[in-house]
Amino acid sequence: MNPTPNIDQHAQKDVAAGDAAAIEAAIARLNHRVRSQRAVTWLLRSAVVGGLTLAIAAVLHATWLIDPGLWPTLLIAAGGLCGLAVLLAAAWPIDPLDSARRLDAASELHDRLGTAYSLLKDARQRTDFELAQIRDAVARTRDARPERAAPWRFPREALTVFVVIGGAWGLTWLRLPAPVQQSNALRPLFLGEGPAGLQNELVPTTLPVDPVVETQLPPEKQEEVAAAIEEAKERIEALKENVAGDSEAIEVVSQLESLLKDLELERVSDQEASKKLAELDDQLEKMDASPEQQLSNDATAEALEEVGQKLEEVLEKTKLDDEKMKQALEEVAKDLQEKKYEIAEEKLKELMEMFQKLDKKDQERLAKMFENLAKQFQSPLQSQLDKMKKERDRLAKKNEENGGGSKKEKDRLNKMDRNIDQLSRKQDQDPSAQKKRNLDDLSRDMKKLADQLRRQKDEEQQKQAGQDGPEPEKKRPDQSSPEELAKKLKQMKKQMARQRMQQKAKMGAADMKELMKKRRSGEGEGEEEGKRELERLARGEKGGKPKQPGREGSEWQRSKDKLEQEWKSMSPSGDAGASKTAMTNGPETDLQAKLEDDFVAGQKGKGESFRQVLKGAASRGTGVGGYGEVHIDYSMRASRQMRDEEVPPGYQEYVEEYFRLIRER
């Protein structure tokens, strides 16, 4: 960079050509040096600033306070800062007179250059002496030593740069566990109960994050949260099976899965995750809008509906003499189709009573009917699976009889196990797997029912035909047809009851959400409850209850009790699945301090000993009692003792003063 001429050319008429240039060249050499040093220094300083910025960003990143997507911006900003610093250092003006003076001082020129430069800048007519001075300065420019005026030295900032940038780089490796907010957001995923259905599991996920729990969660819980995320993944997998056939629910579950994956890979911030969860909440609220419609999506409900339809079809083809039975079955079919599960339940009860009164013909027809019904529900995949299982059981039994079997047979058995597993998985992957499972179960039950009806009929025929014959085989307990049929019907009823419970739970979900919002606003003991919730999660408990407020007797508890009562009322046994809500930690501690005076009879000495029994912890201070009564006693006893032992009066005064000071006021 050529120096800008600072000396007025018009003022150099009396100066020999080249003298001014020589002076300026000497100064310019120093200026180059100063600029380059300054550029390095400013670069290092800006690097320190940039490094500190990155270090702060790294800390924020490690503590989940900034979005990782900001890193490129921060790096560009730090680089830009350094570049700007270098440019500014290079362009920042330098006073040539200062440079001349530095050269004079460093090169022992005794202000020759500085004076000459000043004289050259002066436009007035110079004297001979001044011109002589300029000539003298020009002659001494060769002695100018820029390297002495601006010596290179190791920049002190370099060490700071290394430390700061090294620290920032090190901090980038630091990644604290995800904050509790994410686990809180996902925590409701753990609260669903397996077969209870989609809505029961998903509704809590839409609940807002509890900030109290989030901010006060102790750091040691971080690992538990990570484990909880893992568990959430498993639950989402389970959810995917349960929502088979419901495209809308599948979409929501897949979004949840994607969000969980993003959280795990730290691709989304807490804010984004919360936002996404809020969106899912909206979707689910829309799905909540019509519980009837929602229930219709349920696989079990569909299965029951289909059962109703098939039952109706089969009834049309089956001629039952007992019109009442036929009518009852038709009504059951109709109720199942119309989702009137309670009415269907009552009709099934009536059917159980009527079954005892059926004649043999109708019993046979009914058995055939159920057999036909079962055949209609039997899926080819399930048939194949049953066939393979039978074959596998046969082979296993054979091997056991042959003492374990040969290696070839063992390999075959293992291969069959693998095939069964694959087929089971294939069946599970079927979008309508849940529905098919339900139908398969129903098919098996109905087939068994038909078998039992036939067996019962055969036994009665044998009984009538061979009165003198051998004693009939003792009836096995599982072949008692009325009881068995009642059992099967009871299972169906239970299934319907579960549906009803699910519907109730969904209707209560909105109330629960409201309660959770209240709790978030500080009504509940958020921190303690959050800790308990996490501890529960860490223990692997999967109780299907959503977040509870921390206060007993709260609205949530009332809602829960109500649901439990309803469940009990629906349950035939009345106690299946009933939860015990009684307190297990004993009664509440009484904070009222109480004292009870007592006297213990002394075995030796005179009279009784006085004692006081503390009955409870004082809510404030120390529980005391009887102090005023004993103080005078002790004080007098001390005075008497001092007199007896001839304690000097001066010391007695101290003791008496002590008792005066502790006197009850």
């Binding site: 202000d111 020759r112 000043s118």
Partner: protein, 329 residues
């Protein structure tokens, strides 16, 4: 053009010769000798302070001998009257037998005046020196008598035996260009002094320049350019001795009652110019100013009571000021 370089070179040579001649008598006091020569060239008066026997009078005598100027000495005593210094009007017989008044010049009418132990004279006598030193003229009655150029007063004073002395007033002190402290010579210098003065041979000083030469040298010295930033240093140095100035260092504010006057700044620059030429340079440097700062300012910086009580010297205060004033702004 080359005349300047030649004149400067001759200037330097002449002063070197002068120093050499004076050095024949005065040994071990190079700074004092140089400062005295600077004062001689500039035309400023010198106040020499030192205990007796350090060669103050010998220095003045040697200088007068080397310069080929008229020399006179006045031993100041308490009963010395101004007329004893300046001269007096006396009745004299003329050639025609009549009588008339005639001014008899005193010892002050010389080119180099040694005012020995000037602080022993009364203020009245001391003040008689004021006009002569500043105006370079003497007024007796209605007549004013000009002193010959160059007129150069070298006063000495003894820091000991302060009883019965009359310290010079500030106004008179300010008229001195330099106040030089003559210290004890080093061992080598003392050996040389003994060698030269305790045998039969006495050093002979031959004159190397005349009064005209000194006047020419003074004119040349006045032409030496001083850059603005160098002169600015002299200004800031002077201001730093003022306790009321914002830029004054703490030591000034604490110990100084009065600082250097503009005459002090003039002394600084003039002395620095001569020193630059003596060094063969054509410009004044900050180093020149620094080297003459102490002798030029020490008698112009008046300490306050606190400074006196703490035993602080003027040189100590000035050294602190010199270290506190930056060379650049």
């Amino acid at each position: 053009m080359a005349a300047i370089e030649e004149r400067v070179a001759r200037f330097k040579t002449d002063l070197d010769r002068l120093k050499s001649e004076v050095g024949k008598v005065i040994v071990g006091q190079p700074e004092v000798v140089e400062s005295v020569i600077i004062g001689l060239v500039v035309g400023g008066h010198i106040l020499l302070e030192g205990v007796p026997g350090l060669g103050k009078t010998s220095l003045v005598r040697a200088l007068a001998s080397a310069v080929k100027l008229r020399f006179s000495r006045i031993q100041f005593t308490p009963d010395l009257m101004p007329a004893d210094v300046i001269g007096t009007t006396m009745i004299v017989n003329d050639d025609r037998g009549g009588k008339r008044f005639e001014f008899q010049k005193g010892p002050i009418f010389a080119n180099i005046l040694l005012a020995d132990e000037i602080n022993r004279a009364t203020p009245k006598t001391q003040s008689a020196m004021l006009e002569a030193m500043q105006e370079r003229s003497v007024t007796v009655g209605k007549e004013t008598h000009s002193l010959e150029r160059p007129f150069f007063v070298l006063a000495t004073q003894n820091p000991l035996e302060m009883e019965g002395t009359y310290p010079l007033p500030e106004a008179q002190l300010d008229r001195f260009l330099f106040k030089l402290i003559v210290g004890y010579p080093s061992s080598e210098a003392l050996h040389a002094i003994l060698d030269r003065t305790t045998n039969r041979s006495e050093p002979e000083i031959s004159p190397v320049m005349t009064g005209d030469d000194i006047e020419t040298m003074r004119q040349l010295a006045l032409e030496v350019p001083i850059a603005h930033h160098v002169q600015d240093y002299a200004v800031r140095l002077t201001e730093a001795t003022h306790p009321t100035h914002p830029a004054a260092p703490a030591v000034t504010k604490k110990y100084v009652r009065f600082g250097a006057s503009p005459r002090g700044a003039q002394s600084l620059v003039l002395a620095a110019k001569v020193r630059a030429i003596m060094d063969g340079r054509f410009n004044v440097s900050i180093a020149d100013l620094k080297s003459v700062a102490l002798p030029a300012l020490r008698h112009r910086t008046i300490l306050n009571f606190e400074g006196e009580a703490d035993g602080v010297t003027n040189d100590h205060v000035l050294s602190q000021i010199l270290s506190s004033v930056k060379e650049g702004k």
